[in-house]
Amino acid sequence: MNDPRPELDPLSALGPLNPVPDAEALRDPARSAELLRRVLSDATASVRVLPSSRQRRQRRIIVVVAVGAVAAAAAFAWVAVRGHDDPLSLSCYATASLESDRTQVPPAHGDPRNICASEWVAGRVTGTRSDPPPLIACVRDEGSVAVLPATRGTACSRFGWADLDPNANRQADFVIRAYDQLVAAFRSEPCLDLHEAHATARRILEANNLDWIVSGPPEFPAERPCASLAIDPNERTVTLVPVPRLPAADG
């Protein structure tokens, strides 16, 4: 018996499933004005302005970490603005080619090859879940790590990169450890105020022998009393960012 259903283009069928079909209907001048005011306030807050004096154009890394279990609103991904010049960056390449699709993953302890292998299994390297091929890890010019499929003849030197020595103590490891501890400390509390956040960040940085700056506004506005973090390893700065106290988890 033939399937009675007419042929359906599944991509076309995604359109009607659009949860917000009409973006124009979201125009709200009052809300937009308030949001703009907040953006300009945050953007010009007492954050060290990153200089653009370097000879090579580089993107800076700014990570904002959520505070508390439900403050995901400010949980900007580590990879949101990371550039290719970030020493903590880990790129998982789909093929052994500089033109390859790649995915960037947050910094983590452990063998970068194992980290990227997990990305292959999750389907985030090629778009399809698959077993990872044999992988090699290389250190790029600026210090970031690239993990490529180890096809025959593939060597880091082919791209002018160095082999990653898994036994070497990278400065990145200390920063990653501090990052993990900062994230854990801030997420363990529903809301850290400015002073508590400053003390916590200072304590963790010192415990990891990181001579970094902790900066932020002199006080938080009443509507945003909780602290979130912006971490910039290149500038060795942790910036405290005010965020709203959000309601309890909505599932």
């Binding site: 007419p6 599944p10 069928a13 979201l26 125009r27 703009l36 953006v39 609103a73 949980a75």
Partner: protein, 176 residues
């Protein structure tokens, strides 16, 4: 620069908010994502490609949203809700009945969820944000040819997954 940024903000904010709402289903959270992405846009204003500003914004926002587990869970619930609502929503003309429509949409959703995160987002950018060409390339942080290739691959994977799901359901009906 502030004047230029304000114009930029006013042009794109509501579209970015729609992008965020489609992935979070939370107005408060969508506001936070929009604010955060726009702060990044302020700081990197000179890096935004003038020919594809909204694509650039989508790229930043996508990398924000996809790395948040709570957003992923919310998105799954949103799809379930969309499928439930589809039974009473007028859709493409060639579908013969609401019953078929709901069943086919369920199959599309099931197929979509089998895809990897990147494929899903590529298809969302095309089907929901309406991106193509330079905007899509900017969102995916790649070249236009590479972006087209990604769309083509993702589309084929979705089609294959959809066929697999619908073949299974036809076999189930035959077996009854």
């Amino acid at each position: 620069m502030e004047r230029a940024f304000v114009a930029f903000f006013n042009e794109h904010e509501h579209k970015l908010r729609a992008f965020a709402l489609r992935r979070t289903a939370s107005p408060a959270w969508a506001d936070e994502i929009v604010a955060g992405v726009m702060v990044i846009a302020w700081r990197r204003f000179n890096d935004i490609p003038p020919e594809a500003p909204f694509g650039w914004l989508c790229g930043v926002a996508f990398r924000v949203a996809r790395n948040d587990e709570r957003g992923r869970r919310r998105y799954v619930r949103l799809i379930d809700q969309a499928v439930a609502e589809a039974e009473t929503r007028p859709l493409v003309a060639y579908l013969e009945s609401d019953a078929l429509l709901a069943e086919q949409l369920e199959a599309v959703v099931a197929a979509f969820q089998v895809l990897g995160d990147l494929d899903q987002e590529v298809l969302r950018l095309v089907a929901w944000e309406g991106l193509n060409g330079r905007d899509l390339a900017a969102a995916l942080d790649t070249s236009e040819p590479a972006a087209r290739k990604r769309v083509s691959r993702a589309r084929e994977r979705l089609r294959a997954a959809y066929l697999a799901v619908t073949t299974d359901s036809v076999d189930d009906r035959r077996a009854r």
